[in-house]
Amino acid sequence: MRRALLIALASLGLMAAEPAPTPDQPLADAAQEARARALFRDVRCVVCQHEAIADSPAGVAADMRRLVREEVAAGRTDAQIRDDLVARYGDYVLFTPPFRAGTWLLWLGPAALALLALGLILSRSRRRAEEAAPLSPEEERRLADYLQAETVRPTPDATSPHDGR
């Protein structure tokens, strides 16, 4: 009884719980289909959580895929299709954010960060080019204390430039 009930439930669930989205009809032209697929990766499914329409099982994503395919088939360029999507859904729809006032910091930030860090390092290394003084015997003794004189196995090639880690 329970089993029959479950199966009935499941059949309902498997077949009717989601309205079956219109199955994807790939474009006949392979080059056009490839272009459409590349676009799918950059278009966000507007009702999903951080999913591209390429990946989303949602019905809305299927509709959006059809829309993109139609535009590709109609001969519109990638840039035109992106513009159409943005006009319809807003900037949010593209995973590539636009470059404009308000987002230039986002685009230039990483490079600025890397250059800043590089500049800091260069300025420091120029200022302190000289070699550090070796530890004094007193310091060596105290270091040994800190490390609680845990005996360290001597590395087999202590003379080698790379002696561990």
């Binding site: 199966i7 439930l9 499941a10 669930g13 498997l14 077949m15 719980a17 989601e18 079956a20 199955p23 790939p26 697929r37 990766r41 966000r44 959580q49 951080h50 591209a52 390429a54 990946d55 900037d91 995973f95 590539t96 954010p97 636009p98 308000g102 987002t103 910091l105 986002l106 685009w107 930030g109 990483p110 490079a111 960060l113 890397a114 860090a117 590089l118 390092i121 290394s125 302190r128 080019a129 070699e131 550090a132 530890l135 310091e139 105290r142 270091l143 800190y146 490390l147 609680q148 845990e150 360290v152 196995r153 590395t155 087999p156 090639d157 430039p161 790379h162 002696d163 561990g164 880690r165």
Partner: protein, 670 residues
């Protein structure tokens, strides 16, 4: 009864954490080993109390005690035992107890560490106690998983079926061990700032003390993230393994900071230099962990990973983050100028290479942070909504990382203090040549031909071969008699093997990521029973479809055969399912995976639909999606090899947590 015991144990743990903090502070101020010892005792007791609370929670889930609200909301009698237990950390409340458990357990290990000097240890135990205090208070006062329901419902609401998966059952504990493990690095850093020693030499020792904690946390985090990624790959059903989803980024941030910390701590330990920077990274890694907790639990993000959203809790977490990170960085700003880091160095040296590594890792972390938070901040400030997704990260994060990876193999070959770049490059010439050959072979063999992919293959091979070249150099492979090489290999410290493995593992990951991303093939077709479809070099035939019954689901199971489309190769049977969970009314996919060497053939059953007219007698067809994911194995194998490298380094006797060191010394003396 068991729930009340759990609630009591959690409250007791909170009181004990308060005692731990108070006694340790008093012990430090009065220089009293007795008080400090009592604080350490409280730390251990606090961990035991949280363990008791966690045990009670697991018991409530295992026995399906639906009078406990959290169990009723997240479990179901039909679930297999593994997922009943795993549901204990499947909700916000339960996972917070797990967070506290890891935090107090690491605190207990810190309290047992015998190789730390009195002042530093007492301050660190006090700081760890204060952190535990805050998170336990958060758990007890706002997020207790032990609330009762009256009347108790007859049945539970069940755990999200997507999460009912072995990899995901163990993913949170490992991830948390990583996230929260960094709290000890944080505490040691705060303690070092409080103790404020000004001589270079104590920093050398501090670098050694902080490294094993950073290593352990980083290794846990690596495995945790990889398991999560693997789960997404085979459970979500579209073959993706990294989406630059904000929550993934939240786990990646502490990983990047932790990786930077590992490397910078080496410089601090070996050369007494970069002390301030290492302290900063130790503070940063755990601050990123807390930021991640805030992002995931507050509802500011929408993501598959986000817990039930609750702005109130978000505010509390933001307050905790502000208090702890704010206080720690303020302390840092005040004390950092007093840190005499000394240990000056030339740019071309081992330490110079490690500084460069840190530059790239932190710039990468900054990039991920920017990409994650920017849309939130922009929306809050101007109301404009944008999406920052994979294309942005490919243009910003990837170039930074690629430069870092190209430089990487030279680092370990440079000597401390003054390296010989020309010499290092000469010793890497063979590796570079082989990597180039590998890339050319890849260029010739993979279709379609992609120059970028060939470049990626070269980088991956360069990392692996470069790491091996360094080890070969150290054991004088082919330059000395074999016996001599073996003797040297045996004598090589475990830490050196660990480094080689970690760097080679990174190369393995790069190879997998490059090939999978560049050459994966996706095919969708409606298949009737007996029909076949093609995906790249593979042919997939639908043999039959049956309805099968699982413990808490009903599935439509497709039986399929995967075989090479051309030539004779072994045909393999796979099953792919669409599962329906009546308890939650949800449908999930269970992917059919055929492992072909390094490749995956990945089959997903779609909906049943009316067949094309006149094609099949039964008039039925199923949408079947097939992906050929070349070298996908390596994407998950690489990080595991990296984590193994971390574990090997941890086993190096020079890098012990210090627990039991006293016992070992005694044994030697006796």
């Amino acid at each position: 009864m068991i729930a009340e015991l759990g609630a009591f144990a959690l409250a007791l743990a909170l009181a004990l954490a308060a005692l731990q903090t108070g006694l340790s502070v008093a012990g430090r101020l009065r220089n009293s080993p007795v008080l400090a010892g009592a604080g350490q005792g409280a730390a251990i007791a606090s961990a035991l109390a949280v363990a008791l609370a966690f045990g009670a929670l697991i018991l409530a889930f295992a026995t399906s005690d639906f009078s406990v609200a959290n169990v009723a909301a997240n479990s179901h009698t039909d679930k297999p035992m593994l997922y009943k237990v795993a549901a204990a950390w499947g909700s916000h409340e339960g996972s917070l107890v797990l967070w506290c458990l890891v935090m107090t357990a690491f605190g207990a290990v810190l309290a047992r560490a015998s190789n730390l000097p009195f002042g530093l240890k007492t301050s660190a135990v006090a700081t760890q106690g204060a952190l535990s205090l805050l998170f336990l208070a958060f758990a007890v006062f706002t997020s207790s998983p032990f609330q009762r329901l009256d009347p108790a419902p007859f049945q539970g609401m069940s755990l999200n079926p997507l999460l009912q998966d072995p990899a995901l059952a163990v993913h949170p504990p490992l991830l948390y061990a990583g996230y929260v493990g960094f709290s000890v690095c944080f505490s040691l850093a705060v303690a070092a700032l409080i103790e404020g020693r000004e001589t270079r030499l104590s920093w050398t020792a501090w670098g050694r003390w902080v490294r094993p904690w950073a290593l352990a946390s980083w290794a846990f985090l690596t495995v945790g993230i990889t398991l999560g990624s693997f789960w997404a790959y085979y459970e979500l059903g579209w073959g993706g393994w990294w989406f630059w989803d904000p929550v993934e980024n939240a786990s990646f941030l502490p990983w990047l900071a932790g990786a930077a910390l590992l490397h910078s701590a080496v410089v601090t330990e070996r050369r007494g230099a970069l002390a301030g920077w290492t302290v900063f990274l130790a503070l940063l890694a755990f601050s990123f962990s807390m930021l991640g907790a805030f992002l995931v639990r507050s509802g500011v993000l929408t993501s598959v990973h986000a817990f039930a959203v609750d702005p109130q809790r978000g505010l509390m977490l933001l307050a905790i983050l502000g208090m702890t990170a704010g206080a720690a960085f303020a302390l840092f700003a005040w004390r950092a100028p007093m840190l005499k880091s000394g240990g000056l160095f030339a740019p071309i040296s081992r330490e110079g290479a490690l500084v460069l590594n840190n530059l790239f890792l932190t710039a990468a972390a900054g990039t991920v942070l920017l990409g994650t938070l920017y849309p939130l901040i922009l929306e809050a400030a101007t109301g404009q909504t944008i999406s920052v997704g994979p294309p942005w990260f490919a243009l910003t994060f990837n170039p930074l990382m690629i430069i870092a990876l190209i430089i990487l193999p030279a680092g370990p070959l440079l000597a401390w203090k003054r390296g010989d770049l020309t010499g290092a490059l000469q010793r890497l010439a063979v590796a570079a040549g082989l990597a180039l050959l590998f890339a050319l072979a890849g260029w010739a063999l993979f279709e379609p031909k992609k120059a970028l992919a060939a470049g990626g293959l070269m980088v991956g091979a360069w990392l692996i071969l470069g790491a091996l070249a360094e080890t070969a150099e150290r054991v004088r492979l082919f330059r000395a008699p074999l016996a001599e090489t073996l003797r040297r290999a045996r004598g090589l410290p475990l830490g050196a093997w660990g480094m080689t493995l970690a760097h080679a593992g990174l190369g393995v990951f790069v190879l997998g990521a490059v090939v999978e991303t560049s050459f994966k093939v996706e095919a969708v077709a409606p298949l009737s029973i007996g029909q076949e479809m093609r995906a790249g070099p593979w042919a997939v035939r639908l043999d039959g479809v049956a309805v099968v019954e699982g413990p808490n689901y009903i599935a439509e199971q497709g039986r399929l055969t995967v075989r090479p489309a051309q030539g004779s190769g072994r045909a393999k049977a796979v099953t792919a399912e669409r599962r329906f969970f009546p308890a939650g009314g949800q449908t999930t996919t269970e992917v059919g995976l055929d492992f072909r060497g390094l490749d995956d053939v990945y089959v997903v059953m779609g909906e049943r639909r009316a067949g094309e007219p006149g094609t099949v007698a039964t008039g039925q067809a199923w949408t079947v999606r097939t992906y050929w994911n070349p070298w996908a194995r390596l994407i998950f194998l690489g990080p595991m090899v990296m984590a193994l490298g971390g574990v090997l380094s941890l086993l190096d006797r020079r890098l012990r947590l210090g627990v039991g060191a006293a016992r070992r010394r005694k044994a030697v003396a006796a």
